[in-house]
C-alpha cells in the first residue's frame, strides 16, 4: 500500500482518526508521518530497552530480597519466611508486619485493592483515639510545666495515665 500523502513510498504507519462519531483510517510512509502529527506514536526502541532492563532488575531484586527474607523470623510466633512460603498461613498478627512485602503482593494478586475500606474494629478505633489524645496531652503537659501551671499539669498527668491504662486493658 502506498503512502496516502506522497503516493510514492510504501506506507508503514497506520492510524485511525476519530472525529465525532466518524472513524477514518490513514496510512503514511515514515517520512510523511513525521511531518504530519506528533500524536502518531512510534515504538520507541529506547523505551523498550528500558522496560526490559527494569523488568530484569525487578526479578534480580526480588530474588535478592527472597534470600534476605529467608532469615526473617517473627519474634512473637517464631514463624520463618520459609515456613510461610511452604504453607501460606500466618501464625500471628505480627507476621503481617514481618512479611509485609510478601503479604502485600499476595493480597494485591487476590484482591482489587490492598486497602480495607469496610467496617473497623471498635476497640482498635478507641485505642487509636486514646493514643492520639495521649500525644496531645503530653504536649499540653510540657507547655503547662514550662508556664509553671502545676495544677493543670497534674490534671493532664492523671488523664494521660488513665488513657495509658485503658490502652493496656487494665481499665
Amino acid at each position: 500500500m502506498l503512502c496516502e500523502k506522497c503516493q510514492k513510498k510504501e506506507a508503514t504507519v497506520f492510524y485511525s482518526e476519530v472525529k465525532g462519531k466518524q472513524r477514518q483510517q490513514h496510512c503514511f510512509c515514515e517520512s510523511c508521518a513525521n511531518t504530519i502529527s506528533p500524536i502518531i506514536e512510534k515504538p520507541d526502541v529506547e523505551d523498550s530497552l528500558k522496560k526490559i532492563l527494569s523488568d530484569f532488575l525487578d526479578i534480580f531484586l526480588f530474588q535478592l530480597s527472597s534470600i534476605e527474607k529467608q532469615n526473617e523470623k517473627c519474634s512473637f510466633c517464631g514463624m520463618t519466611f520459609q515456613e510461610f512460603q511452604k504453607h501460606p498461613r500466618l501464625g500471628c498478627a505480627n507476621d503481617y508486619e514481618v512479611f509485609k512485602k510478601y503479604i502485600e503482593s499476595m493480597l494485591e494478586t487476590m484482591n482489587s485493592s490492598t486497602r480495607h475500606i469496610g467496617k473497623k474494629a471498635k476497640q482498635f478505633l478507641q485505642k487509636k483515639e486514646n493514643t492520639e489524645n495521649i500525644e496531645k496531652f503530653k504536649s499540653k503537659l510540657k507547655i503547662a510545666i514550662a508556664e509553671e501551671r502545676y495544677e493543670d499539669a497534674a490534671v493532664l498527668r492523671d488523664q494521660i495515665a488513665q488513657l495509658e491504662r485503658q490502652i493496656d486493658g487494665t481499665l
Binding site: 498461613r89 500466618l90 501464625g91 498478627a93 482489587s112 485493592s113
Partner: protein
Amino acid sequence: MELYNIIAQTPPIWLKGYGNDVDIVMCSRIRLARNIEGFLFPGRANQEENAKTLEYISCRMQNVQDLQDYCYFSLKTMPEKDLYVLFERHLISKEHLKSSMPRGVFLKKDESVSIMINEEDHLRIQVMHSGLHIQELWEEINALDDLLDEHLPYCFHEKYGYLTACPSNTGTGLRISVMLHLPALSLSKQMSNIQQELSKYHFCLRGLYGEGTIPLGDFFQLSNQKSLGLKETQMVAQIQSLIPQVINYEKNAREKMLKNSQDILKKCRASQKALCSEKSLSLHELMQHLSLIRLGSALDLVPLPLETANFLFLFSLSANLGRIVPVPMEDEDEDKFRAQVCKKIFNTKEKI
C-alpha cells in the same frame, strides 16, 4: 448440657424451605473471620496455648448478657459421631471437625447462628437462613460482631483491616455463601459455562460443604472470593445482583426441559421408584435421586413438599441418619438404613 436437648430435634431453620425461589436457593449464609490480640493463631499454637485462648474467649463470651440464649460446647471431648452431626448441619466446618486442638462452639438453639472458637481463626461467626436473605443476614451478623467487639480485642490493622490466618480472608473476613440447587443446568451440561461466568466476577461454585468438597446431587455453594478492597455492603450488593441471574439461568434451563417433559417425567418417576423401593442406597445415589425429585416437585411433575425433600436431604447424611437409626452402622448397613428411612418418609409423609 446435652447436645441433643439443644439441637437436632427438628431440621435446622435454614432447611425449612421458605422464602422466594426456595426451590433453587436452599439457604444463605454469612461468616466473619476474627482473631484476638495477643494470642497465636490456632494453627500456630500448641495444645496448651490453644486451651488458654479457648478459655479466654469462652469465659468472656459466657459473661455477655445478650448471648445468654446461646449454648456452649467444648469439642475436644465430644464423641466423633456428635461432631459429624454438627458438621453435616453446617454448625462446624470440616477443619473444626478434624482438629485435635482444644476448641469449642457457641450455638443458637434454632441452629441459625454458630460461633466457632479456634477454627483456622480464633473466631468464625456464621449466620444462616432459609432462602435468599443476604441483607438481613448481614444486619444480624454485623450486630453480633459489634457485640463481640465490645468484649474481645480483635486483631485489626489500619490498612489491611481484620487480620486472619489465611491472607485470602484478610480485610473484611467476610464470606457470603448461597446454597443452590441447580439440576437443570447440570443436566443440560451448562455448569462449566456458569462457573466461568461467575469467576469473572470473582465468585466461585463449590461443593455443599465449602472448600475442597465435591458437589453432591447438583447442590452447590456459591461464594465470594475477594475479601479486601470492598465494603461489606458492596459485597452484599454484588452477590444480590448476581444470584437472580443464576436463578434465571436455572429457570430458563427448566423451561427448556419442560418442552420435553415426558423425558424428565420419566427420570423423576424412576428416581421416585428407587427411593420407595431400593433396599440399599449410597449417599451419592440418594442425592442424585433426591435432586431429580426436587426438580420434579418444582416443575409440578411430582407432588412432594419441599420441606420433606429437605428433611430427607439432611437425614440421609451419615451422622444425622445415625441419629434416627441409633445402632452402630457399617458402610453397607448405612446404605440399607438410608433406604429404609427413605421408604418410611415417602410412605408416611407422602403418598406418591
